[in-house]
Symmetry: C2
Subunit: 379 residues, 2 copies
């Protein structure tokens, strides 16, 4: 095993009927109540949170309108509101977009400069408001990690931040809150969580990691089987619960602790597609990841062999890639650029955009040419 | 999945050469430096800690003499010393015995009554001194959990406490610090960690837990293979590292989160054997656990089938038990009462002692008669 630091102080409160307890953690506080649009009003989560806040005498200011691929301009507005209202915590009711926005607002609240400075490594996050999550979409694991991704619409950059101050204090994971998540979002979340697990699994060089490999394989298998169940039976509690906890564990630091150097090249390319064409994160990954595996097939043949055997019960690297791509297609996730309306002529722009993220992430071997070659496997 | 709360704020600093950094976390503090006996002086860990404390101007008071199966009388002495010296943190350099003693001292420091009150549920732990661990023995996972077990020599009770305040703040896990751990301690640690994992796995009633089952099986397999490697090659870094991290993850809350009700009947019986005869914890478990499995074989046949298949590649409940018992025997762990000098005539006293712990832990179905029947399988 390689050296590592593991630290994750987020408290997870998991189970049915936990949403109504959110107010108990927030007595005598004044919170920014952050969410997306109408969905939490339609599915009853909004009312549950409101009732709990009122019952526990929690003061709050509402701010709605977080979009998928959350944007910097919204974050600026919310920071201004948070400062004006002098809040002392944030309630993030939503999925990764809402939580990532909350983290950025939480850090921006204590910073006098431009919050984008944190994203371009001009400043370091030292302090942030405490964040309380009511998770409504299982996918990103932002509910139990210290990272956030925001898109700067002006510069067309989808960049990330990290900082120990950004771990949510408490995250309520109630699987019933995801019963109404539509099929395309389930598919996106499933792909996102699987690729979170497999970026480390396939990019690390160090292989004496039986714990981490076993954990990744267990989680990928669980995500695949629970996704299938959910699509058939959206209100299957166990399937929603297993999917939710798997997605959280997929990027909370556990499966990468001790594996040594690894990279996120597929997230890099996916972020560029999202930044340029506003395509859902999961959809970019189901296109890019099989292409990346095909491009790297020869180098990864041993890992693919093991992966295929453990996850799909097949003993052949090509079939392992095929197994994953077929799974993505079977749940309705796009696997080719054309599935989201992109073509060979778009590859140049994506590769150009991805290079700047490659440099930020230290992935210097990912030149424009290499990225373009990978993306050609997605035609 | 069943509802759960997962919270584990301990920071793990894992890797070679980390011991020398302990002082960095403790600048301007006054610590109680707690350890067992001469082993940390012989293997150089004592000097590494001392050098780091001096280099970082950390004030400290030494207290040595923690024994395996740590005792209450020692804890009383240490609390008195800690109060007199007005310390503000504890350095625990050792294994579970030292860490558990540190936790009890840490809680006792802020309590005016008898610290044993916490063990007999007469008082609740509200505050504790921060604990910094340098782990020297992989086994109990006390380095990343909030529990502690202490033996009251007068009452012959080996009882436990829990409390969020008891999570160590930072635990340094340097696999090279375990290179000199002798074979019998390796075997005890291996058995302890495996039984930590399997108590939950075999006592839970709820079976839709693919994540937790997969994690347990991964960890048990890793512990078995790394134990074998360590016994052949004590300075195999990867084996020591995989063993160490597996043992930590075996009882840090991860594998039991979401599995619903479960119990620790084998620890209950093992604690009684230790309390009465001062036999090492791991040795009591390698005797009791196969006996318990045999007693419960019919109820557990499906679980045993799965366990046998996943861990030993065999498809038969009897052979699964045999596989585990043979593994214990192969690493030199006792598997029968006679292996530690006990006989049928001792069963009565063990069962009598275990009943009081059964009541404390709510295991009311464990009557004296039932416990005696289980132990007869260990003759």
């Amino acid at each position: 095993m390689k050296e590592f630091i593991f630290y994750n102080p987020t408290q997870i409160v998991f189970g049915e009927n936990q949403t109504k307890n959110i107010g108990r953690y927030l007595r005598n506080k004044k919170c920014l109540f952050l969410y997306g649009g109408t969905s939490i009003k339609q599915n009853g989560i909004y009312n549950k949170v409101m009732d709990s806040l009122k019952k526990n005498n929690v003061a709050f200011v509402e701010k709605s309108g977080v979009k998928p691929n959350p944007v910097l301009s919204f974050v600026y507005e919310a920071i201004e509101l948070a400062k004006k209202e002098n809040i002392d915590c944030i309630i993030a009711a939503g999925g990764g977009s809402v939580i990532d926005s909350a983290k950025t607002i939480a850090a921006g609240f204590y910073y006098d400069g431009d919050v984008w400075d944190f994203f371009i490594d001009k400043a370091q996050i030292k302090q942030a408001l405490p964040i309380y999550v009511v998770l409504t979409l299982a996918a990103t694991a932002s509910e139990m990690n210290s990272g956030a991704v925001i898109t700067n619409e002006k510069t067309k950059q989808k960049f990330n931040i990290r900082g120990d101050a950004l771990f949510p204090k408490i995250s309520i994971l109630d699987p019933t809150n995801t019963y109404t998540v539509p099929k395309n979002h389930v598919a996106n979340g499933s792909v996102d969580a699987i690729v979170h697990l497999l970026e480390g699994y396939f990019t690390k060089k160090y292989l004496s990691t039986p714990i981490q490999d076993g954990f990744v394989e267990t989680l990928v298998k669980t995500i695949i089987s629970s996704t299938k169940q959910i699509l058939k039976e959206p209100e299957n509690y166990d399937a929603r619960a297993n999917f939710m906890w798997s997605a959280t564990l997929a990027l909370n630091g556990l499966t990468t602790a001790g594996i040594g150097a690894y990279a996120f090249p597929n997230h890099m390319m996916g972020h560029s597609i999202s930044a340029l064409f506003d395509i859902a994160h999961g959809s970019t990954l189901s296109i890019v990841f099989p292409a990346w595996l095909k491009y790297n097939k020869d180098n990864l043949s041993q890992r693919l062999q093991r992966f295929g055997k453990e996850v799909f019960g097949i003993d052949n690297p090509d079939k392992a890639i095929e197994g994953l791509e077929s799974f993505f297609a079977s749940i309705g996730a796009p696997t080719k650029l054309k599935d989201v309306g992109l073509a060979q002529t778009d590859i140049e722009a994506i590769a150009q955009n991805a290079v700047s993220l490659a440099q930020k992430w230290g992935l210097n071997e990912y030149t424009k040419e290499k990225i373009a070659s990978i993306l050609k496997f997605a035609l």
